[in-house]
């Protein structure tokens, strides 16, 4: 059995792409651990046109139901490789492999690792990448937030309402965050900002007990005793598994053209995992639609069918 399109990732881009592909009566499989993507974490979305305010989870449930109403087949798994096959393309997961004419990559972004000793060992034992998920588990404890951008400051602000003490550790003393947020966090007595420090190690026994910091100027090292560390240094695409299959930027974003085509014929990409500079639900959804139409056009050409766009004239 061969699919027309395999969609990898189930956020706004992937679910929109699915709706467009299914409406074109393509045979579609979506491979995603779970549906909704990062948008699910957004407390409120106030820029999805047509709806003034909606919870991120609720909006994504609408996307999901919409795609499922067109009969979307979903495999709750993780793609680990994409290869050329004799007649098309193959997508592999740990347990299966699937044949397809085309692929749409829409797996979004994943929190960036700090890359220091102790980080991996203590994931779930005091190392966290989601303040709103795990914050309540650190009630009256001492925590550190690593990072200097909006997400780090927002995490610090949120955690200050729960934890006894919050250290906000950043490499640079120039914050990239919004001025309003910077001012607000500066006022909070529970938050102690430590800027100009590199985090060099996360220490612990069976759980986190401290972090080691190095002064960026003097190289002086100090240790903070903490119960938890929240790593908020941005997001990146988890695209290492695609190395060699499609061209990527040095940040691992998939290079695409205006029609969502990647460097590999038959492989398209949409949404936050691409090199498009804006990460928004509405943009991801629009890109997903484009990728679907491009995939449809690719399949039509392969089968010698005329591609009939929505707006009139036939394109050969």
């Amino acid at each position: 059995m061969k699919y027309d399109v395999i969609i990898i990732g189930g956020g706004p881009a992937g679910l929109t792409t699915a709706i467009y592909c299914l409406r074109r009566e393509l045979k579609v499989l979506m491979i995603a651990k779970a549906l909704g993507g990062q948008a699910v974490i957004a407390h409120e979305i106030q820029n999805w046109p047509g709806i003034e305010t909606i919870g991120g989870f609720e909006l994504m449930q609408h996307f999901e139901q919409h795609a499922k109403s067109w009969g979307l087949e979903i495999k709750s798994s993780e793609a680990i490789a994409v290869e050329k096959s004799e007649t098309g393309l193959t997508v592999r997961t740990n347990s299966d492999s699937y044949e397809t004419e085309s692929i749409i990559l829409s797996f979004g972004l994943t929190p960036r690792d700090l890359g220091v000793p102790g980080e991996k060992e203590f994931i779930g034992r005091g190392v966290s990448y989601c303040a709103t998920c795990d914050g309540p588990l650190f009630k009256d404890k001492t925590v550190a937030v690593i990072g200097g951008g909006n997400s780090a400051l927002e995490a610090a602000e949120y955690l200050s309402r729960l934890a006894k003490k919050v250290y906000l550790v950043s490499n640079s003393c120039k914050s990239d965050a919004d001025e309003a947020t910077v001012k607000e966090v500066a006022k909070m007595k529970e938050v102690e900002a430590l800027c100009g420090y590199l985090t060099t190690e996360i220490a612990g026994d069976n759980k986190v007990t401290g972090i080691k910091l190095k002064d960026a100027d003097t190289a002086e090292v100090k240790e903070l005793a903490i119960d938890g560390v929240f790593i908020e240094i941005g997001f990146m695409p988890k695209s290492g598994w695609l190395k060699g299959a499609v061209d990527m930027t040095d940040r691992g974003e998939i290079k695409t053209d205006r029609l969502c085509q990647t460097s590999a014929p038959g492989i398209f990409a949409a949404g936050d995992c691409t090199d498009l500079g804006y990460k928004q639900v509405v943009i991801a959804a629009g890109e997903g639609a484009k990728a679907a139409l491009s995939a449809y056009k690719f399949i039509a050409a392969k089968r010698g069918l005329a591609y009939r766009p929505d707006y009139g004239e036939k394109i050969k």
Partner: protein
């Protein structure tokens, strides 16, 4: 068999006794990724009916159990067999991977 709702009241009997492998999804209502994990666990429970016990535990209402197993990030999924912890997953998990690990315990 649908998913089991584990609580402090039934945890000993449902999760730690018996010889079937057991999967417990530690979650809370406030956590976005937990809401994504939820439907996956429900489906898995149906797939594994009669072969293993699959369900979830609300850490807000059953904090003593979450604490006992050192849950500091959610979702955390713990696999048990014969009352022992066999494997712990932190963060969102796909159904395939969980199913494969449960099958290894059978």
């Amino acid at each position: 068999m649908s998913e089991i709702i584990f609580t402090e009241g039934n945890f000993e009997a449902e999760a730690l006794k018996g010889d079937m492998p057991v999967l417990v999804d530690f979650y809370a209502d406030w956590c976005g990724p937990c809401k994504m994990q939820g439907p996956i666990i429900e489906e898995l429970a149906k797939d594994m009916a009669g072969k293993s016990k699959v369900g979830k535990l609300n850490i807000d209402q059953n904090s003593a159990i979450a604490e006992k197993f050192g849950v500091m990030s959610i979702p955390t999924i713990i696999l048990f067999k014969n009352g022992e912890v066999k494997k712990t997953f932190v963060g969102l998990q796909g159904k395939d991977g969980l199913k494969a690990e449960l099958e290894k315990l059978m």
